[in-house]
Symmetry: D2
Subunit: 238 residues, 4 copies
């Protein structure tokens, strides 16, 4: 991903491309590099932006983002609390899907992450519907009656009661954690708060090498990223 | 999922509930059935609607919907072509995420499926941004410059050239198929049309039974639903 | 699996077969049932015997047996301690591979299991190299300098120090457990006893439905049977 | 794996060890290297030998060897045909389990592989029950009434009729292949020859990183090695 600037060029190990050759052409058209190799210029889409961010911290993959988006059941106009912000990749995906009248409230205690995330989210064009908060979510969530709480934290179970307070009845909580002990602790915290429909699962994505007569799953794969824990808020009896 | 009607009741093998007991209460509150069992009433969210539809035809699972949504890179305002409509579950999910100014053009050749799907999509509240078409997509796609083409067809490879014509440069094509031969044929068709970034993958979702001291993946699982084939349109040289 | 008896017959929902039609024919030959369906009679092999036993208690599958045999590194003449005996399926497999000069010492505290196992192992023709012991392995292992200890117990970590005492230097310990907490406890016990080369793994076996043009993994699969924990005895410093 | 020689030493990046320090000590005892790091010397077992061989050609993993051994249902005294020999790793495992009165007849057309394999098998102590044949198995199998045929070939389907001729009634055939097209072709050939009990499967082995509070499947894993195709010979009607 790079910015096209008149008079400059883009260098790769397969030759360079003059940006001037791109200007005035449609996205998706092919141009030849100095070494005669075909390149195609695309306008980055939301997946491109987040993949680039993910590269840096290597946490949430498209397969997991997809599950989080579908399980959180967000959509146009949803109000979502996220903690922590991390690289801003998941923030951007959530913002893309609550777009444009919804809102993502994203909590992050490390200021240096927050600044990096702000740049990433802005680049992805999603900043106008994201509220970044340099706060410890363990101290409480400012928002009420939100549609979903999405957690990517080292100790998600400590936040479950705060999530209960912030969620509307029937709202969803989705937590992403690499270790099984995090899942066990979080499920117990959800049960203690009376959440229902509790599910834990893992999504294993497997790339297939496709070539007629030589088709097979790839030899080396990402074997594990994390587990997803999901539940829905049921209101406690008074 | 059921409709609350004054004076009526809802019967289950764990007792019945008078709907009058629900009226005036918040979603997420608990009510006791005639047998003293706690029930929680939720307003259905988009995942509830599609899960209900999926039950009937058992084709696309949440894990696959999530991947399709993220890979197709759709969002607010996107224009998406889908074929075929099937139960309308994936149509509803796509509509939820292009909401409200985008549009899903969904092709289905079997009129009886189309009518069932229309009811499902309407119930999910998504019909105003879906255009259902009782047409064979193999005869051509009416729309131009669409952002994404999503295929759930027996012979997706026969539609690849039509998808090329309908897509904007850089637009995405995502095809979901149960068999590996469909994937091989589709990848070859994509290569022939000059699509780039071609990937095939499978997402294996595994439920975990979580209970401290007894935590383990579930014994019986859905081992396979289908493969996802993905690519992006590069414009052919004139 | 049934015993061929002169003058009798074998009944199935695809018709019956007179045993007299089988007598004098080679294994692997086809005979027609009363309904005209082809049947093939095989002499049971070791896998047939154990599969039949496994059916009853559903614990260790061929995929897991294979791993246990290879990781335990047993062979002709090996002396192996097993606990518990269970149905005798794994006992028979181990006996098959230490055959004929080796020995499997199998501990089981439940007398009713031991009797059932004895019949199963005898039927599989392996009883002459198995020593069945109605003893609690937690009270100690009688044998010394054994090549391998194979555990299929609810609390394998409590036996690790007994296994250390029974094993020769460099001998292998292989434990099979359904839950992740069993694995964590066992790995910690192995570390505490100074075992080396500790590994934990899971083997996911996936059946493929093969038919040209319709090839795909099976929809429903056994998603989990158990984890395998493996290590090798290093002698503690005096 | 190395040979202990009086007066020499073994060098590693964690210091060196004088072989004289090992002589006279039991296998499994710890010795300190020149840098003070603990080392443990083991007598190599059959898995050690084959793992070392596998390293070179990276074809059949312990998980696959285990399945092949169990599905082929071999044991003491079995006569097995193998093609091709490759590195000799699978040959050694098969020989270990037919040991000592059985026999493995191993076909390999590439003389340079056969020589390498002979050294590997000899080192593993299995050569006395292996017959290595520098012959193209497609030209026919010399042996008759064998218990099992094990194939690790690029075109296993071309050998199915030869395997039929070599096998006893009820004998097993097990083929290992990396691609799905090999599996489809092989299953069709098995059906054409009247084999029964045909099954195709894949074994996915997943390493678990075990540490209390941080337990999770490993991030990077071997995602695919190969498929196993299995069947049993039913005698064709005359």
């Amino acid at each position: 991903m790079t910015k096209v600037r008149r008079g400059q060029s883009f260098h790769t190990h397969r030759g360079y491309i003059h940006f001037d050759d791109l200007i005035g052409r449609a996205f998706g058209e092919r141009v030849k590099s100095s070494l005669g190799v075909d390149f195609v210029a695309f306008r980055p889409n939301i997946l491109d932006y987040t993949r680039k961010m993910v590269h840096a911290t290597q946490v949430i993959y498209p397969k997991d983002m997809g599950l989080i988006v579908v399980y959180s059941a967000i959509g146009h106009g949803s109000r979502v609390v996220e903690a922590g912000t991390g690289s801003g990749a998941l923030t951007s995906i959530l913002a893309n899907f609550v777009d444009p009248t919804g809102r993502v409230y994203s909590y992050e205690i490390r200021p240096e992450f927050l600044e990096k995330a702000r740049k990433n989210i802005e680049r992805a064009g999603m900043l106008d519907r994201v509220e970044l908060k340099n706060k410890d979510v363990a101290l409480g969530i400012d928002e009420k009656d939100v549609d979903a709480v999405v957690l990517d934290l080292a100790a998600p179970w400590t936040i479950v009661s705060k999530a209960y307070e912030a969620l509307k009845g029937g709202g969803t909580i989705v937590s992403f954690s690499p270790t099984i002990e995090q899942v066990v602790n979080t499920v117990e915290a959800l049960e203690a708060e009376g959440f229902v429909g509790i599910e834990a699962s893992e999504c294993i994505a497997r790339r297939i090498k496709v070539k007629r007569g030589q088709t097979r799953p790839e030899t080396l794969m990402i074997g594990h990223t994390g587990y997803l824990t999901y539940a829905r808020k049921a209101i406690k009896e008074a």
